[in-house]
């Protein structure tokens, strides 16, 4: 069964009253539940000027309580910037608070300021990620872990609280490249592909993913989540007008933060050309057009979770609520109840 998800990324610009921002997010996630969405997700950043953004685990916890019918997704936790014992404990907490409805989306991170602040080497982020995630998986299993590794030392450590889902919540690993897709296949339960990948690229990566899993003696994935930029309107023209300015602003800021450094040369070209990017990787249109585009990903790629970004910089709450209602129409057209 395909689930459509509502992603709340860093899109609210500095200066908006944060009390208002908070209550709008809560209202949005409740509305998403009412309109047939299957999950919601939030991401991780710190001191994310010019946006203002909440801290992922307390935020997920409150939203999980506000919308108890929705699956809860971290999109994504930046593993190299944390400590495996702390992250394992926080993931267990949100899995417990959500009643076992959590999907652990995780990734490497890219902002130089964040790596500098946490005193972690960006050059070693893949190694940090792998050592840390391996430890977290062992801790969630209930094992008393002794480990003397390159980055972490644990002696006879066991988590005081385990997640509800056994042996652990499903792990979705963000990927922007072929090595990352291979890593996701070996270490995770699902790939969480870049919103920059177009459908042909996604299909190539799906083949790579499954071959890598087969080689490692692992079964095919049971969940295939993808993320798309998204703009739905009552008409195609309204969707384009409403979405274009905000999307361009968002990617402009991400580029300033160094996201391009995480991407391939082809992806970098896309950042310079909004029209090309929108043509290949965005879902834009009226509800019928959006449903058709999502259906294409479901039929061609076999996706199970479609994460959509409904809010962009400068977009008022009333517009986000309208988009949630229109997405409800998309969901009905997809036959999801």
């Amino acid at each position: 069964m395909l689930e459509v998800g509502f992603h709340m990324g860093p899109v609210v610009l500095r200066g908006t009253p944060m009390e208002r921002q908070w209550h709008e997010h809560v209202e949005q996630v409740r509305a998403a539940a009412d309109h047939g969405f299957g999950f919601f997700s939030v991401g991780t950043h710190w001191v994310i000027h010019p946006f203002q953004y909440f801290s992922i685990f307390p935020w997920l916890s409150r939203l999980a309580a506000a919308a108890p019918s929705l699956t809860v997704v971290s999109s994504v936790v930046l593993i190299p910037l944390g400590h495996p014992v702390d992250l394992a404990s926080r993931v267990a907490a949100i899995d417990v608070i959500s009643g076992g409805r959590f999907r652990f989306g995780c990734g490497l991170g890219y902002r130089a300021l964040e790596f500098d602040m946490f005193d972690r080497s960006r050059r070693h982020r893949a190694s940090l990620f792998e050592e840390s995630l391996e430890l977290m998986i062992r801790l969630w299993s209930g094992e008393r872990v002794t480990h003397h590794g390159r980055f972490f030392t644990l002696d006879d450590v066991a988590l005081s609280t385990l997640p509800i889902q056994r042996p652990r919540p499903p792990i979705w690993i963000a990927t922007n490249s072929e090595p990352a897709t291979r890593r996701a296949a070996r270490m995770g339960d699902a790939p969480f592909w870049s919103p920059f990948f177009d459908l042909p690229t996604l299909m190539e990566h799906r083949v790579i993913f499954e071959a890598e899993r087969s080689q490692a003696g692992l079964p095919p994935p049971t969940e295939i989540p993808i993320a798309r930029e998204y703009s739905v309107g009552r008409t195609h023209r309204q969707a384009v007008v409403d979405g274009a300015a905000g999307m361009a602003k968002k990617w402009e800021v991400y580029a300033e933060h160094g996201l391009q450094g995480s991407l391939s040369e082809d992806d970098k070209k896309l950042l310079d050309d909004f029209d090309t990017m929108a043509g290949g990787t965005f879902i834009i249109g009226d509800p019928a057009e959006c449903a058709d585009q999502i259906e294409l990903y479901a039929s061609e790629l076999g996706i199970t979770h479609m994460k959509l970004r409904l809010q962009y910089p400068g977009m008022p709450h009333s517009k986000v609520m309208e988009r949630i209602r229109l997405t409800g129409e998309v969901i009905r057209r997809l036959g999801i109840t």
């Binding site: 944060m18 001191v47 953004y53 307390p58 404990s89 300021l113 500098d116 602040m117 005081s160 385990l162």
Partner: protein, 269 residues
């Protein structure tokens, strides 16, 4: 005097799937019984009875609970102050501003070992961490190169609920904690079992009360207690937040104690 109750936290056997639902039911019962403050157990990661991370728990409980929420004593020495400052600000928004933050310097050795933190550094790390929080909460540009932590020219944007920092109370376990509380201008949190350093403690309580900072007393109970007497004793000592800690071996036993204590709170109020 604000009367509160701690939800869970003893050496209990609890399955993960019942942990939060039990806490949420206890919170409803306690708030419905007149408790105006709900307290979480101390923050821990490893090797003790099942407890949930305090900031996540208060954030989730705030969805249905109108009481003020008191974090369990946070061991802030093991994390980065920018991360903790943003977690606290988020939990404060979740609670619509009804949040008191408790901080501890006396940690479980197993927790410190898991994070490879030298026990002698916990106090100094805590001091530096809290000082950084206040810059992150109120300043537009923070460049900090401290003994333990670095903030390289960051522009903080996550602002506090109502523009006000949550009240912070430092758990007092040793004389040095009183000095840290005075230096950082925080309130105090004590247990009724600790009677050491009485003169210094009384002076610190007077200072905190004069600055309108919280003075919290956590007192373990294993049977419903005569609240009027407890309130009178602790009020005379300068305490303005009394937190009952129902001590029982199982979550249902704790829930029963919360309910019975709640009936006494209703009678007392």
């Amino acid at each position: 005097m604000i009367i509160g109750v701690q939800l869970g936290g003893w050496d209990i056997e609890a399955k993960p799937e019942e942990l939060f639902t039990s806490l949420a039911k206890m919170a409803d019962t306690a708030a419905g019984s007149g408790f105006r403050l709900l307290a979480m157990p101390a923050q821990t990661w490893v090797g003790r009875s099942p407890t949930l991370q305090p900031l996540e728990t208060v954030s989730a409980l705030a969805e249905t609970c109108d009481a003020t929420l008191l974090t369990g004593p946070l061991l802030v020495a093991v994390g980065h102050p920018v991360d903790i400052a943003e977690q606290i600000a988020t939990a404060q928004h979740a609670a619509d501003g009804r949040l008191i933050v408790e901080v501890q310097t006396a940690a479980e050795p197993a927790d410190l070992a898991a994070f490879q933190i030298d026990p002698t550094q916990v106090g100094p790390r805590t001091r530096e961490s809290i000082a950084v929080w206040r810059r992150i909460w109120f300043e537009d540009f923070v460049d900090h190169a401290g003994t333990f932590y670095k903030v390289p020219g960051a522009q903080p944007t996550l602002r506090l609920h109502g523009g006000n920092a949550p009240a912070i109370a430092l758990s007092v376990h040793a004389r040095a904690d009183l000095e840290v509380a005075r230096a950082l201008d925080t309130g105090l949190s004590m247990t009724s079992e600790s009677t050491h350093h009485a003169p210094e403690r009384m002076a610190a309580i007077s200072t905190a009360r004069a600055s309108r900072l919280p003075v919290i007393m956590r007192t373990p109970i294993d049977t419903p207690v005569a609240l009027d007497e407890q309130i009178a004793v602790h009020a005379a000592a300068g305490v303005d937040h009394l937190v009952l800690q129902p001590k029982a071996p199982t979550l249902p036993d704790i829930a029963r104690l919360v309910r019975e204590c709640g009936e006494l709170v209703s009678e007392s109020s």
